[in-house]
Assembly symmetry: C2
Amino acid sequence: MEPLDPHGMTFQVVATAPDCSARAGLLWTAHGVVETPAFMPVGTQGSIKALDHRRAQELGAQILLCNAYHLYLRPGIAVIEHFGGLHRFLGWFKPILTDSGGYQIFSLQQLRRISTEGVEFRSHIDGSLHFFTPERVIELQRVLGSDIMMVLDECPPYPAEHSMLEEAVRRTLLWAQRSLAAFRATGSRYGYRQLLFGIAQGGTSTALRRQCLEELCQWDFDGFAIGGLSVGEPTEAMYEMVALSTELMPPERPRYLMGVGTPENILTAIEYGVDLFDCVLPTRNARNGQLFTTRGKINIRNARWRFSDEPIDPALDHPVSRTVTLGYLRHLFLAGEITALVLATEHNLAFYHWLLATARRKIQDGSFRHWKRSFLERIRQTAVESS
Amino acid sequence: MEPLDPHGMTFQVVATAPDCSARAGLLWTAHGVVETPAFMPVGTQGSIKALDHRRAQELGAQILLCNAYHLYLRPGIAVIEHFGGLHRFLGWFKPILTDSGGYQIFSLQQLRRISTEGVEFRSHIDGSLHFFTPERVIELQRVLGSDIMMVLDECPPYPAEHSMLEEAVRRTLLWAQRSLAAFRATGSRYGYRQLLFGIAQGGTSTALRRQCLEELCQWDFDGFAIGGLSVGEPTEAMYEMVALSTELMPPERPRYLMGVGTPENILTAIEYGVDLFDCVLPTRNARNGQLFTTRGKINIRNARWRFSDEPIDPALDHPVSRTVTLGYLRHLFLAGEITALVLATEHNLAFYHWLLATARRKIQDGSFRHWKRSFLERIRQTAVESS
């Protein structure tokens, strides 16, 4: 396990772009340093869908996202406690961020009651009744032993009435404060430091986002997240909220845009000063046969690839991307082979990690904004040609 | 590509057991040497189910089995020809054996007509009508470019009338002879040598097996296979047929027992002098949650493993077997994660390759029979304790 930075620092900005808010940073956790901007593969239930996390680490994953709500329901917190925390349960000894599950609970179809105290919900697995409070969610994440814990927040749907957004902001702020108190009142179970990030809500309302962030950022969270976006709002509205949020966030703390997004979304958010990302897009779309490449998106089931002996993406320094051909991968998809899902997932994550690592390098050499523009033009251009 | 053995040899026995017919050998192919006894993972459609063949190679797979019938139907022979053969299509540059598809065709539910000329069948994918002759199947495998080609044979079900077995032997022998003639009349497409193995049938009839093998083994095949077993007959009958077959086969040619089997089946057949094996058992059972280990079989879904932080099999020198815990793997199975299938497959194949490599070492040091007995006793014992 790597020691914390000797100066006790959590986050350090090591380079900023000369012509935009993009920054390259280092985020210290008890299980190692994360070079930001960084993409966190989604391992909701403790596993990246269709990819052994050993492989994800080889292709550049620095930090894994898991979900406290899902792991609480299955395998159950007693199992993970017995193992001595999530790192040992998974066999992943690099950093882990656990989402609280707020987003999942508020997306549940099952009966739930929200009160100031907390949220009552039914398990999506067996319908059993559960009650989460901000304090309980901190406690769960203490048992999980994640390096970065997220507070319980209320994530309203899109679109939502202004009054509903207002109420969600009020509750999210109240819960954030209680989470921070619970965090301070409790200690690590396993002898290493855990960080706590606050989450801002406010939908696409400039006024509510501003109000939420102005209050949230006064509190001493280790990092700040932008929640409640990428839930169906127009892309321009999302960009506006991200730009507003990063302006209001303290520059010396890491910034995390939750659940976003496409390569274009991520590069734009980096331009506005976001440091951390997670999204199911590269893994979910891989399983549907959509590949992200440096030449744009590829629908691998398309008949045009039948005879193609081109590799998926020779520009990437990853064996699967450089050697598996489009024709072979298409065959595996049409034949219904599980290996098709594995190879596509491995490639898409290799692409996402390449994208973030390249963005970081371009920030450091001062060419990020220029590179971003020409890269996005190039992949859009290829997409037009392929369609 | 490794050169052929300088003496033009295909197979060499390098050690024989002092107290049974087990032997350790080297099988030279255009894509490298196979150390026998060896297990061939099944990659029917050009992919091991749930495991990237790059991983299989890392854990000890020396030769991959694919199926000419399946690949002929999908992606179609034109695709593989365009790629320059199966090795390039798959990106697997070690030896490949292709089964002719006889077994698959004779298992088809769809309408088929068998004549002396060949077999008419309907595709299991789209119902289209196809006709295979022994000559056509050699031609297909010339295009596939497999290192070891198998003749088209007739595999009757179990149980079968004696007259049906007789007819199958007659046809299988006729087809074997025509296959050999077609093999001699054609050349390699890609400039390297391909081998051709004959297949013996005869069900569990001693007389028919003997008759079939006595004729088949007079012909100059590069190796000989025992077909038509592991189709439902009692284990003892299978062992009897294997013992009889290996006695009749020329000692200087490799012997392949098709579609077998459990660890016990394989070790017993090795004792009788078999060199090559393939079976879906390690991969199929992995996907059903059954693990083969040096401590016996494990049903990973069993509640007894819920809190187990034991690794799957610490006796194996493979990262997945040594580090993935039973409790974690059980969780992935119950949660329906694709990674569960991948990890279980990876472990089961690691176990099978360990089993065969260990058998080979024990043959070389003269202790095979003793080791086999005590190993099987141990895994049977543990199975009793677990049940």
